[in-house]
Every structure is written in C-alpha cells, then in structure tokens.
C-alpha cells in the first residue's frame, strides 16, 4: 500500500513542480476565461437579462451567471490538452518512464489523471480569486463546497479527453480537439446561457444542451458554488466519470499510436 502512496504522491509532486516552473503556461491558461469574463460578459450583459433561476435567489448580472461555465472551461481545456499529450509524442518520453513503473498501469493512469486534475483546480481557484476582486463573489462556503464538484468535473473531462485521444485518430492535434470537442461541448451547454433561453430559440438545440455532459458539469459547479445540491448533475457526473475512466484505461495503449503512424 505504501508503494502505491509513494508512487501517487511522486506523480502529484512532479505535476506540481512542472506547474510552478511553467508560469507562462499557467498565465496563458488564465487569459482565456478572463477575456470571456472581462470582455465578452461585460458586453453581453446588456443583451441578456437573466431571470431568477436556481440556484440564484435574485436577479443576477451576466458576469455572475457565466463564472461556473468559465471555471469548467479551464478544466475542459486542461483535461483535453493533458490527455492528448499523454497519448501522442509530446509527452511520450515521460509516459515511457511512467509506464516502466512496476505498479499496475491502471493505477498509473488514474494517478496521472487525478494529479493533473488537482493541478487544474489551482488554476480554477486563481481564476475565481480574480473574479472575486472583479466583483463576482459567490458565498465563501460555496467556494469550499465547490471543491469536490470541480475535482469530479476535472476528472471526468480528463478521462473523456484520454478516451477520445485513444479512440479517434483525427484528434492528433489540438486544433482538431478545439473544433470537434471543446467548442461543441462548451457552446452546446448551459455555460453561456441558461437552458430555458436556449429553448426559446430552438427545441432541438435545447435537447442537445440538456444531454451534453458538460451542461451537467457546469450545473453541478454552479449549484455547489451557491451551496445548493443538484442530484441529477451529481449523478450524471459520477456515472460518466466512472464510465470514462474505465473506458479510457481499457483503451489506453501506446502501441495503437505507433500502429496508426505506421499505417
């Protein structure tokens, strides 16, 4: 058991050290959601009024509405980026080192997914801190309650990223992931607009959004931030995380990448 703990803590420590050392990567990951918050949301607030909807107790400005979606966006980008590099060459060197560990491959992959998820949380909280200064201030206990929700979402999205990278050849570069995974997941969700608003314009768009796992991720975080419990979102996120992790681990095989290249 101790060997497993040593291994897991070693993997987390490495991710932490890389995070600390690559400050520019950290800052650039923050720029994206901040642009959405400071530019897009500021411009959009005049166009979109948000009625009183759960979990909010009152009318809210658009900046408040968009915060959970942007927090999840950080997790979405990090999850996809991290998982993609686990499968393809950029990190293949360090993955080779990881895989020569005598501990089970399933454990190693889960540890890696969990470690990158934990590091992503630091970015989310840095973003929430800036938003707090900007004036978007969820209740303080909500920030703590959101922690396990954010971790669950980070794991779910990392595992989804790994599963997609394993399965789909066209996702070899990040542009492909942006176009075919990140943008559809993000825009077809409740991250930017509430689902009732979507329903007003199109019934089928509404259903696409309602079925999108990312919607449930955003709603789980939104409710947690405001100290509310959303059992449907939690159930969907737990269920999908288990399925994605299981399938991602089962389909992970560096040999597949080599076989694809040779074909």
């Amino acid at each position: 058991m101790n060997a497993y703990w040593q291994c897991f803590s070693g993997i987390v420590l490495r991710e932490w050290l890389r995070f600390v050392l690559q400050r520019t990567r950290f800052l650039s990951a923050l720029v994206r959601p901040l642009l959405w918050l400071l530019v897009f949301a500021a411009g959009f607030r005049a166009a979109l009024g948000i009625a009183i909807i759960e979990p909010y107790d009152t009318y809210i400005p658009y900046e408040v509405y968009i915060i959970p979606g942007l927090a999840c966006m950080i997790l979405l980008f990090n999850g996809m980026q991290g998982s993609l590099s686990m499968v393809y060459d950029r990190e293949m060197g360090s993955m080779r080192v990881l895989l020569t560990s005598p501990l089970p491959r399933t454990f190693l992959l889960c540890s890696k997914l969990l470690a990158t998820s934990l590091i992503s949380l630091l970015q989310v909280y840095a973003f929430l801190a800036i938003a707090w200064v900007y004036g978007v201030q969820p209740p303080a206990p909500g920030l703590l309650i959101a922690l396990p929700a954010l971790l669950l979402v980070a794991l779910m999205l990392s595992a989804l990223g790994l599963l997609l990278s394993n399965a789909i050849r066209q996702l070899e570069n990040f542009a492909g992931v942006m176009n075919f995974v990140i943008f559809p997941l993000f825009f077809l969700s409740s991250a930017l607009y509430p689902l009732w608003k979507m329903r007003e314009s199109s019934e089928w768009l509404y259903w696409l959004c309602a079925l999108n796992p990312f919607t449930h991720a955003v709603e789980l975080v939104r409710f947690a931030l405001y100290e509310r419990f959303n059992p449907l979102a939690l159930g969907v996120c737990i269920g999908l995380t288990l399925v994605f992790v299981l399938l991602a681990v089962l389909t992970f095989n560096p040999q597949h990448a080599a076989l694809r290249k040779s074909n």
Partner: protein, 243 residues
C-alpha cells in the same frame, strides 16, 4: 538463472512484420551488444522489453519472471535508458531521480540513500540541484543511467544511449557502463548501430530485418564470418543473409 530470456518473439505493425521469431538469452553480469542497422527492429524489441507494447507472440522473461504474467517483479529488475531523453528538463537532477524512485514505490528514506549513492557513483553529487537543461549531453546521459540504476535492477537496457554524444563522451559512456557491469555484476543490453562500441569479449546479437541473424561472442562471430567485425556485419546484414 538468465538475466533475460527472449523466446520466439514476433511482432507486426498491422501487416508489416517488425520482428520475426527472435530468441536469445543474456547471462548475468555480461555486457551484450545488440547490433543492427536502422529499421532492423531494435526499437520495437526495446518497446516490448519495457512493456510499452504488448507481446503479440512469444515470451519475455526478466530474471525468470514473465513480463506478461508477472510484470511487476519483471519490471522491478529492469533499468532502462531510452534513446531519446526522457528527463524533465526543467526539474533538477535530484527531482528527476526522486520522481523515478516514487514510481518504483521506494520509501523516502530508501530514496535518499539510493539517490546519494547513484549520484556519487556517476560523479554528479555537486550538480544534484542543477536543472537538467543546464547539463551537457554526456551529463544528461549520466543522470539517466543514475535514474535507471536507482531501484537496483539486475538488467540494464540502453537503447542507442550514445546517440547525439561527441566521440569522447561516447567512449566514456561505453567504458562507464562496462565498469558497472564488471563491478556491480549487472547484465547490460546495449543496442547500437555503431560497430566501434563493440569489443571482442562482448556477447553480440545482430538483428537484421526483424530477424536475429547471429548471436555469440563477438570475437567468435567475426572469425566465423570473415576477419573483422565490419566485414562480418556487412555480410550478415546484406538483405540476402537474413535467414
């Protein structure tokens, strides 16, 4: 017990065969050179030995433990230096070593002792806090060797470890590994395409077009196939020679 047994291993990338019925064994405490031109199948063999690829056919045993059935004890006995550097360039020498020790589940106390010992042996004690990025190619290789030896493996695999080094560093590395082999009783499998890295007393394996075309002591093989190692190698690795 042999340090390594490779029995009847075949591997194909789709329809393209990379290894065909390769079998050989390594005796403990010996330096074995695996020689082959580019594309001979060396990298595929290394990927199989390090469990990066799954075995399609045949069996690999490290220190008697099957890589397929008992990967944990098998990998514990294996130290690897890959062809391309797998160090984290922005981490210090010591941080890289500690990460590897963690992956092997070593305790903090044991890690401290082993890191000190290996850094001292590689002459890197003074540089333990330097970032790997600041080291030259030869020193980086030494860090990788220290890392590979950290968990005290019985078999050390080096995949074209001298690639990219200047001639002096290349020679120094080769001699260094030989001294480890002599003094520590570690078995070494050194893959290369450079003939001058092989000595007459080495065990020699020649891979060509996915087949093992010769194996035995280098001196005996050269006598058998013509005068010197260069002409023996050329004879064995012309296409028609692949049996």
């Amino acid at each position: 017990m042999n340090a390594l047994d490779v029995s009847d291993v075949s591997f194909a990338y789709g329809a393209k065969e990379a290894l065909r019925q390769v079998s050989f064994s390594l005796v403990p405490g010996r330096f074995a050179a695996l020689l082959g031109p580019n594309g001979a199948g060396k990298s595929t063999l290394i990927a199989l030995l390090t469990r990066l690829y799954d075995l399609q056919r045949g069996e690999i045993r490290v220190g008697g433990c099957s890589l397929r059935d008992a990967p944990r004890p098998a990998l514990k006995q294996l130290g690897v230096v890959f062809q391309q550097s797998t160090l984290d360039l922005d981490l210090s020498v010591e941080q890289n070593l500690r990460y590897h020790a963690a992956l092997h589940g070593m305790s903090r106390h044991q890690t401290g002792l082993r890191v000190d010992a290996e850094l001292a042996r590689q002459g890197l004690t003074e540089r333990r806090r330097e970032k790997v990025r600041e080291l030259n190619g030869g020193h980086r290789r030494r860090v990788e060797i220290a890392r590979a030896l950290l968990h005290e493996p019985r078999l050390l695999l080096l995949d074209e470890a001298s690639v990219g080094l200047d001639p002096a560093s290349r020679l120094a590395l080769n001699q260094h590994i030989r001294s480890l082999c002599r003094e520590q009783g570690i078995s070494v499998l050194w893959t290369t395409h450079l003939l001058d890295e092989v000595q007459p007393s080495d065990d020699l394996l020649i891979l060509h077009q996915g087949r093992l075309v010769a194996s035995g002591q280098a001196e005996e093989l050269t006598q058998e196939h013509g005068g010197d190692l260069g002409s023996a190698f050329a004879r064995l690795t012309t296409s028609g020679a692949a049996r």
